[in-house]
Structure formats: structure tokens, C-alpha cells
Symmetry: C2
Subunit: 426 residues, 2 copies
Amino acid sequence: MKTRKLPAPAGDPSDRRNFLKHGIVSAGAVAVGAATAKAHAADPIGKDFPAFSVTPGAPFRGYGQPSRHEEKVLRALTPGYGAIAPGTGSSRTPLQTLNGALTPSGLHFERHHNGVPDIDPAQHKLLIHGLVKKPLVFTEAALLRYPMVSRTAFVECAGNSGANTLPAAPQANCGAIHGLLSGSEWTGVSLSLLLDEAGVEPGAKWFLAEGADSAAMSRSMLLDKAYDDAIVALYQNGERIRPEQGYPMRLLVPGYQGNLNVKWLRRLELTEGPTHTKDETSKYSMLMRDGKARQFMFELGVKSVITRPSGGLGMPGAGLYEISGLAWSGAGRIVKAEVSIDGGTSWREAVLQAPVLSKALTRFRLPWQWNGSPAMLQSRATDEKGNVQPARAEWTAQYSAANRYHNNMIQTWAVKADGSISNVYL
Amino acid sequence: MKTRKLPAPAGDPSDRRNFLKHGIVSAGAVAVGAATAKAHAADPIGKDFPAFSVTPGAPFRGYGQPSRHEEKVLRALTPGYGAIAPGTGSSRTPLQTLNGALTPSGLHFERHHNGVPDIDPAQHKLLIHGLVKKPLVFTEAALLRYPMVSRTAFVECAGNSGANTLPAAPQANCGAIHGLLSGSEWTGVSLSLLLDEAGVEPGAKWFLAEGADSAAMSRSMLLDKAYDDAIVALYQNGERIRPEQGYPMRLLVPGYQGNLNVKWLRRLELTEGPTHTKDETSKYSMLMRDGKARQFMFELGVKSVITRPSGGLGMPGAGLYEISGLAWSGAGRIVKAEVSIDGGTSWREAVLQAPVLSKALTRFRLPWQWNGSPAMLQSRATDEKGNVQPARAEWTAQYSAANRYHNNMIQTWAVKADGSISNVYL
């Protein structure tokens, strides 16, 4: 057996159909002699089967877990955890090890302000009050009887990718920089249905959402969102929501800053204006270049990131690779993801993995025949509203150097000739 | 506080838009006096917050798990486990406790022929040989460099719902009867890409897929499927495939009998005809009414099941409920799911949850104002090829009474006046 040399691309690698038609893919397959293949037709690895193929396997399990060989695929704790208060901090989705458009629930990023409450659903209630005709309290059992809707949506922390706003490019992997981002199928009750039942008073223009965690995390937002696509979510990826994502229920406001999707939701208060809670005055204000601050900037910008190849992964020699990543926008559907291998001088359109859903993570892919020379990998997303992901210079021109929020600038991964990959500012 | 009486539906419950417009939903919400709501604006449950809201919560976790309050939501072991050989049997997805269209990976059904092998991916290899120009061996590392595709697809065991072909209707919940069915997002390499690389000989019309489990489970199928939509899947719901679903790789043949989606895939052999392995001669033949047997019936029929309300769940009193379930077809997209509350005398069209994807689970929903009288709940799916799910009589007319496979007949759940629900034949 010997490793085959990888052929040069027979067509334009930016054209996937062409790529497939010419069958140029041969990334590391090992050709075996026909004689060997005949002699050991049932035995691809030599004369003997490995132990796992000749001994009875493990029994059935009530609830499955990943393979022990994947035990290093974990959420990464953000440095500084617990410095402000116990249970305050975040952990990040290891984007560089995942594929597809979903995040497994066990790896959905965490952002807690006082740890994860252990909520007994029989004791938990949701209050809707304030400027309503008829305040209502919902038990979990009551909510579970309501008509439901499902939708796939990303949740992204407003502080995601904040490390890339610091003066020096942090040397960390994709998840550590951009992993306050996850995508799930959420199922629950349309908030508009519950508000209609309570009866909204004409003066109500905003609402406050409050969590049942001991930090009572709470945020205000415009009532329009409740009548657009907000959900009181009870299920995540098919099963009941995980504790770290708000068990037994959370608010889901697709496309909005992560912490507006209030977890462990216990209270919705309809109001005339914003409530100015501690969580929206001490944090989440955008410091602008002109010295002003912008508050209540809910919608997340159009964004993308190459998850593979990416920082720290390394590429074992020249040859064919797939450049793959995620694109998303708080404004709607992604219509284009472009990839550059020369730091933005030229762009090629990547394939978007169907179905492309509004305010959901969209996987993009582009085969790349790496010739072994240094390269600068970038991706740039465009959404259905025509928003285009900004370059670094364009983004930084808008905001104060002290601003860490809503960083949706283009990420650059620098590939060296030795295959090592680092985070650079360009 | 007192429980409000549930109002009668203001419109045709089969028209969801009408339903929403009239805001008739009020299943068990509890109205609170405005004074109470004012006095305890931040406190929906009385004077005191529960302990979980006033004490710091649990710390962050590398890999999350469901709430301990959901510890009973488990796969159900099929009776008779291990009777034939160690590790032989199945466990079923608890469909009645799930919502949305995805199955969490931890609850994906299991069907093993000799337990779950503990495969070290560094030792695992995939051989493609037989009628090919150039036999190839792929390591996991090589495959992970290939261009990938993702698709959402159901996997259903050919023996799913087999209990409903027995003379007496089994009294069991929805998952125990129909839970050899799960849906996931799968990501991997198109099989056609790998075959093109090996070079298919003109005489090749079939291929054998063999697993690396100690039962060496293997099945033959027509080569056309490889060039249609077959995938060597490496990821499930975003992360690497779970051991019970074939870690480190499985064959995915969307819409085909579950066990054709060979897990722990180690060998693909291109052949002129079927191989007639033990797994396809001892099992998976369809016994027909005329005494003949049909072999190699790959594609699964159009089917649906109401998951809620369903057997054993019970309904606590008259009022509004959502009738919800899953519809799927091996032939393509679902175009219609109808619901009957009178055992098939009349039908109403349910809402299909978008996106409706080919050969994937599709969630359907229909609000139902239950008046407390006995009811017979049924669902009936239609796919894009015009296939309509058969009634019990229609299905049984085709097959021998001894046949247990490919049961896609309409399921009937009988609701009694006391709210109890049982499985009946109709």
C-alpha cells in the first residue's frame, strides 16, 4: 500500500457540479493492489480483524452518549469564569470539530449570570402581566397542551468574537473565538398566542422578559418581535430543553442578541417603554466611534466564519481540502457565502447546504486544492436584505476601540507553508 | 386563582390561520387577579421564590445532559432482548415525549445484531472493492478531508410497528410500537464520489455493504442508490456519529429499510447481483398473501403516526389539545397529513411544519377541541408520488398474516370519555 499523489484539479473548484463531474476528489485515499483486495476481501486492514470486530459489543443504553474516542470534543470555558460572581461566564461550542448546520444540544454554548438553576418544572410558572387586560399564569403542564411551532434558529451572544476586537489577534481555535454561537431546532408556543389570550392594552409597546435564575436575568424589547416570530420554547432538537439552555422554558427571539432569548423564563411584563434593567444598562451597549453609545441594538449582523481549516487545526501537506464554515444573519436568509484564499483579493462562491432557513446557521462548502503555498482564508456572507459582512477596517471604522459587541467582521485564517494555521488581522 | 373554563372553538380548527386569528387557544391558562399580579409583579408563584431562584446554580459543563427531571425519557428496550444472541435486539425512540422533527441523538433508536462495537477510529478502515478498476482503502482521517454533504433523513427499521400486525392490538405507548424510527441531520461523503474514484466496472449492478460489528451485518442493494443519494455518514446532528448509530461511519441510504443503512461500515463490494448474506436471507423477506415472498424490498412506504395524544398518555379533561405527529415516506416529500377524530369517517388536513424535506420526518399539527366524548384518532399521510398511507384492511389484504415487515397501515388511538387512550384495530 502507498499513499497516492493527489491529482491537480481538473476544473474550477468553485463550481461544485464541475468538481463532481470531473471526479477529481482523491484526498488521501490509499490504493490497494487487486490481489491483496481479493485475498482479504472481507478484511480491509490486513490478515486479522481488530478486537472490536470479533467480540460482542456493548449492551443497549437508555440514553446514548458520544464515543469515548471523542471525549475531547467539549465546550471550552471562557477564561475569567466566575471572576464577577459564582456561575458567571460562558463556555463555547467547538465549531472546528462539528459539521452540518446543527449544534448537538450537549455542545450548545453556555452563558450564565449565576450558574444553571435546577428547576423543578412542577414548581415553575410563567407570568404574563403589566399592560394586559387579564394577567395570566401558565404552568408547564398548561403550556404543553398549547399548539406548537418548530423552527430552526441560531442563538449568538452579542459578545461573540469579541476577542477579535482586541489590539492583537488572539491565537485560539475557531470555537474559542467564535463559539458563542449555536444552532438548534426549537419547538414551543408562539408568544403572540399567549399575548392574545392575555389581551394586550393599547399602550403596550415593549415587554420585559425575566429568567428564574438567581441573577433574575432580564431584558426589554419591542413588542413587535412578540408578534413577529417569538416563541416560548419548550423543546430543543426534539427533546425538552436542556438545563443550560433554559429548562423548562426559554424565550426564543430569532436573530436577536443571545441574552434576549431569556432562559428559565418566568415573567413577561408588557410595558410602555424599556425597563432599563441591570442587564441592559451595565452591558450590551454599543460604544460608537463618535463617542456615543447605542442601546437596544437587538438584531445581529450578517456574518460567517470558516470552521475548517481554521486556527490550530493544521493541514497535513498539500492536496485537496474542503473549506467549510457557517453563515448566518439576524435579518433573514443567507443568499451568498464567498470564500477567498488570498485575503480578500479574489472571491469564489461556496455551495450553501440546503435547506437555507431564515435566521438559522447555514453550512457552506468549497473544495480547495491547496498547492502548499501560504494562503489567507476568508469568508464573506450576504443575506436576503442585501447586507454584506464587513471587512475588518469597515467594522472598526464604526465603533469605539473599546467596543466588544456585535463583531461580525470578516475572519482571516493564515495558512503557512508548513500547514499551520493562525488567526491574523487583515 | 381558579382554572378558566375553556371556550368553544370560534372557527374551524382545521384552519390554523383562522384558529390563530380568533385567538381561541386557552388550554389551562390560569387567570390571576390584577391586584395579585401587581403586588407580586416579580413573583408569579406567591410570596416567595422557589429555592432554585434564590441560590446560585450549577457550574458549567463540558458536555451537557438533559435535566434530571426528564430522567424517565429513555429509549425503551424491546422485549426479548438478547434471546437470539448477546447484544441482539432493539430499543425504541420515545416518540410520545418528543416534539419537532428531529430525534436527539441520545434517543435515536437502536438495532444491533451483536451489541455496539467500541471502534477505535484510528484502527478502522473502509474498503471499496469488487467490480472496480482500483480497489481503495480509506482511513477515517482521509475521509474527513473529502467534500461533504448534509441531509436530514429518517431511519426506520423494516420491523417497525410490527407489533400492530399481531392478532390482538398491543397495549403499549407510541414509542414502544412505532419507535424504531428516528430523524437526524447526517453529514458525510457522497458515496458516488468514492465510487468514481475507485472506478466502477461496467458489470457492477449491485453492492454489498458490511459492518465492522462482530455480527458483520451486511446487506446488498442496487448500485443505482449509490448514485442517487447514498452517503458515507460521519456526523449526526452536528457532531461525530454516536456509537449506537455506527461510529465512526455508517452508510446512509435515505428512505430505505433501516438495516440497509449499515453501521460501523467497513466494506463496500461492487457485484453483479445480490450477495444473499445471512442478514437478507434469514430476515427482511416480505411474506405475501398469495404465499410468495418478496425479497429486496428496499423502499419504505408512506406512513404517519399521531404521537400525542397517544396510547397511555391520557387527557386530563375536555378542552383544547394539539393533535400532533410525524409523517414520512421513503419515496420523497410528504405533501399531506390528514387527521380523523372519528376513526376515518371524516378527515381534516393538518398543518405541516416547514421545512418539509424529502425522506425526512415531517411534524404535523392540528388543534382539537375535545368535547369529552369517545373518539378514534387516526392520521393518514400522502407523499409527492401520490402514495397514500393504507388503512388496516388494505394493508392486511396484501400480506401473509405471518408478515411483520413494512407495516405502514393507519394507526388508531381510541380515546375514552375518561381521557384514557388505547391502541385499537379498526
